[in-house]
């Protein structure tokens, strides 16, 4: 088992926690009595983890799993101070006795947010960082950086600025950096909350390799599906206590419904994936029956689609039947599904092109972006709130100018043709696709924050300028903190509204109605920054409703959410749609997409591929140019 690290006794347990309790110290400045004390984050936790084991800590938000990981990497009690009781040893380091620096050599840590967990601006520096702190000699550091980069498949990234990497690449760097000092234990705190499907699979493969090296791995995670094949044990937390400790086999044997009742996300994402794929395959067909019938009559026989048969369930597919997966999805949603796309009406249904499920290996030039039958000047579909015709989104490469604008993170060009789409009031449309597929650029174009490179966005049939779109649409950003400006929730809703006294009364009435509708009435006088993530999200949406926005776009609204909060977001989407808003949700979360989206645009599956042109000034845009320290060392 311990091939690479056979110097220590393998029999010794990696982690031994005995009756551990922890309570974060309250806000400084508050009186130190019991009334203001937060409830304990951990109480009476007893857990042993064997050397080389892969343990998943699960449970709802605030259940104590993150606190437990902080105990393992020494952040408690050195950084997060509080009252610690009981004893916890990590490879012989006594919690509360050992300094956090002693943990650095034994425990590698990976955190939730890929954006803020690297300390250096460049990949090679970030990898070298732990070794530099440990005082290694330069030559030895360079050797180790090279070795780890090779093993983790990131050698081609060494010269790059971490800011320019995708979320998946950033998380890979984070894992690599955590492994630099050959840790015995790797602790990951919700490492996938910002990752797409492919990046999650990559991370799983990477952790599989690390596990085979004999490293003990502890993951605190909401999304359980990605590590289902790796985990040896699942430890379930609830209100700071351990309420379940199952081996992987026993955990998998628990009926899905019972795991759901524990507030856990699905262990098997396949049913959700199937529904997402089925919905995406039907794009741009709408759910209503009339559209179905028309499409079925008009469409020419679909060409054979071998690529799809692998993912789309049919009568011949073994394993769970479509009815099963519909059940699972409907259970999450709380209501039956409106129709089962897994069992399409007999006969070929309208799919404009065979989907390009793997655009990386396909070398053909981009297919025409129009669905069959639609001309470039096709009129907007009646009833559509927003339509795009021949739209190409992206941004041009920064030119050679005397005063270069530095507002875009990368100055290379990017363009992505978008198949014509129509957004209808009362409908939830999901936008999926891997990082870099152009999802963000598309929604930025639809809400008027970016100009289209070509083509038109029509609002109720008329070509609309970005300014008009900006008035009609609203984007709830992934980090909603940027969007809250006022000093109270009510002020947030009234911000920017002006008018005479009688109008103000009307606006106040609207504001109160919106507050009620989004369950914010009790919070109306709170400062927005004092709210929880979900409450902030609702406040931002409320501000959009008061302004009378017609299109609400949400960017990754469920990243890092447990099942209960994800369901809340899903219901919120539904409520917005029922209110007559067009709802567009950009997401990697297949559970959310499967249960609540009426239609799904999968940018990986529709024709048209992102094209990139390296910026002509790419070498200059980097304020500090990366240079390979390794090459540099060789050159002398």
């Amino acid at each position: 088992m311990t091939v690479a690290y056979d110097d220590a006794a393998a029999a010794r347990p990696a982690v031994q926690a005995h009756g551990v309790g922890f309570r974060y110290r309250g806000e400084p400045g508050l009186p130190d009595d019991d009334a203001t004390q937060p409830p304990p984050a951990l109480s009476d936790v007893t857990l042993g983890i064997a050397d080389g084991e892969f343990v998943v800590l699960c449970g709802q938000s605030g259940c104590g799993k993150t606190t437990f990981t902080r105990l393992l990497n020494g952040l408690i009690p050195s950084f997060h101070t509080g009252d610690l009781t009981g004893a916890c040893t990590v490879y012989g380091l006594e919690c509360g006795q050992a300094a956090i620096e002693e943990y650095a050599a034994l425990v590698g840590s990976v955190f939730q947010n890929p954006k803020t967990q690297y300390f250096n601006a460049f990949v090679a520096d970030e990898l070298a960082f732990p070794c530099e702190n440990a005082g290694w000699e330069p030559a030895r550091i360079r050797g180790r950086v090279d070795e780890v980069a090779q093993r983790f498949g990131i050698a081609h990234l060494l010269d790059r600025s971490i800011f320019r990497l995708s979320g998946g690449e950033k998380q890979r760097i984070a894992v690599a950096s955590a492994c630099m000092l050959r840790p015995r234990l790797l602790v990951l705190d919700e490492p996938t909350s910002n990752l797409d499907r492919r990046a999650m699979d990559d991370l799983a493969a990477l952790l599989g390799d690390i596990k085979r090296m004999g490293v003990t791995i502890v993951v605190a995670e909401h999304r359980l599906a990605w590590c289902a094949g790796l985990a040896d044990r699942y430890v379930l937390f609830e209100s700071g206590r351990i309420v379940g400790d199952h081996t992987a086999a026993r955990f998998a044997a628990i009926p899905e419904a019972r795991r759901e009742a524990m507030g856990l996300r699905t262990l098997d994402v396949a049913p959700f994936r199937r529904r997402v794929d089925a919905l995406a395959a039907r794009w741009p067909e709408r759910a209503d029956a009339a559209a179905n019938a028309r499409a079925a009559d008009d469409a020419p026989p679909a060409p054979p689609r071998p690529v799809e048969s692998a993912t789309a369930p049919g009568p011949t597919t073994s394993g769970p039947t479509p009815a099963d997966s519909a059940d699972t999805v409907a259970r999450l949603r709380g209501t039956p599904l409106p129709e089962s796309p897994a069992a399409p009406p007999a006969g070929p249904h309208a799919v404009p092109e065979p989907p390009l499920t793997d655009d990386r290996t396909d070398d053909t030039p981009p297919l025409p972006r129009q669905p069959a039958g639609a001309g470039t000047a096709a009129p907007a579909t009646p009833g559509a709130l927003l339509s795009t015709r021949g739209l190409v989104v992206g941004h041009r490469p920064a030119g050679r100018r005397w005063f270069r604008r530095r507002c875009t993170p990368d100055t290379g060009g990017f363009s992505r043709p978008i198949p014509d789409l129509d957004l209808f009031p009362g409908e939830i449309v999901g936008v999926m696709g891997h990082n870099g597929a152009g999802k963000s650029t598309l929604v930025r174009t639809l809400v008027g924050l970016a100009r289209p490179l070509a083509g038109d966005v029509l609002r109720r049939g008329a070509a609309a300028r970005p300014r008009t779109l900006m008035r009609a649409g609203f984007l709830v950003m992934q980090d909603v903190n940027y969007q809250l400006f006022a000093d109270s929730v009510r002020g947030e809703l009234l911000l920017g509204t002006t008018g005479e006294d009688d109008e103000r009364a009307a606006i106040r009435a609207v504001c109160d109605a919106v507050l009620r509708e989004l369950d914010l009435t009790g919070l109306a006088d709170r400062h927005p920054m004092s709210l929880s993530g979900g409450q902030k999200q609702r406040t931002a949406i409320a501000s959009a409703l008061v302004c009378g926005k017609e299109l609400i776009v949400l960017d990754e609204p469920t990243s890092g959410l447990d099942r209960r909060h994800m369901v809340q977001v899903g219901m919120l989407l539904r409520r917005l749609a029922e209110r007559g808003k067009a709802v567009l949700v950009v997401t990697h979360d297949e559970e959310l997409a499967a249960a609540w989206c009426d239609r799904i645009l999968d940018l990986d599956a529709v024709p048209g591929r992102p094209e990139r042109t390296p910026g002509r000034t790419a070498g200059q845009t980097n304020p500090i140019r990366p240079r390979s320290p390794i090459r540099q060392g060789d050159s002398r």
């Binding site: 070298a128 030559a139 650029t441």
Partner: protein, 249 residues
Amino acid sequence: MSTVTTPAPPADAARGSHGLRLDPRAKLFLLLEANLLLFFHVGTPTEAVLTALFIVPLLLAGRVRSAVRFAVVYAALLGLSLIETPTSGGWAWLAIVPMLAVGIRMLLPCLITGAYAFTTTSPGEFTAALRRIHAPEAVVIPCIVVIRFFPTLREDYRHIRDAMALRGIPSGGGSPLRHPAQSLEYIIVPLLMNANTVAQDLSVAALTKGLGNPGRHTSMADIRMTPLDWAYMALCAVPFALFLTGVWR
């Protein structure tokens, strides 16, 4: 917002390795000297000679465009500042032109050496240089953090501008001038709020990687002062020394 990635410019590393490459410490020396020029108010000939000497390494480091740009701007300002303007009469106000030209011209050496030092040095080399000159960790770490923070701030600023536009709050380029108080509130406050959380996350990331280690910290970048570095530093020191000793003014 998900990140859009571009293929790395592959030529970068190769381009940096040929031509004249000064040690980061020599770069810091040039930067210091440029600041001393301003401090001692050196004469125009000395300043012009030194500016030319400062532009040369930029040129040799492959940053031809910015070197030429600096040279042109400096020459233009030099020309403008040498104009004799009437001291009385209706055109006396023209004296403001050479005055401004001199003011900006005197700042240019600092800008040139600063641009050279910071665009041709990787953060790793920079920290190595600081550690080599025995700067305390209390100086080194804030420097790393500043380098790390600038792109974050830029990105945050973009997000906030977008959010303001969506809410119909004026956010155009001129708005900080027209509505200073509002801009302060709507831009600076969220920036600081976010910086606070980023700072917390960074501290956690750094501490778990042993930043707090009491022992000696090393640097991966292997930097070395070569005879060339010493020679160039000496060359740049000569005109300044001549000016200070009064031999050549």
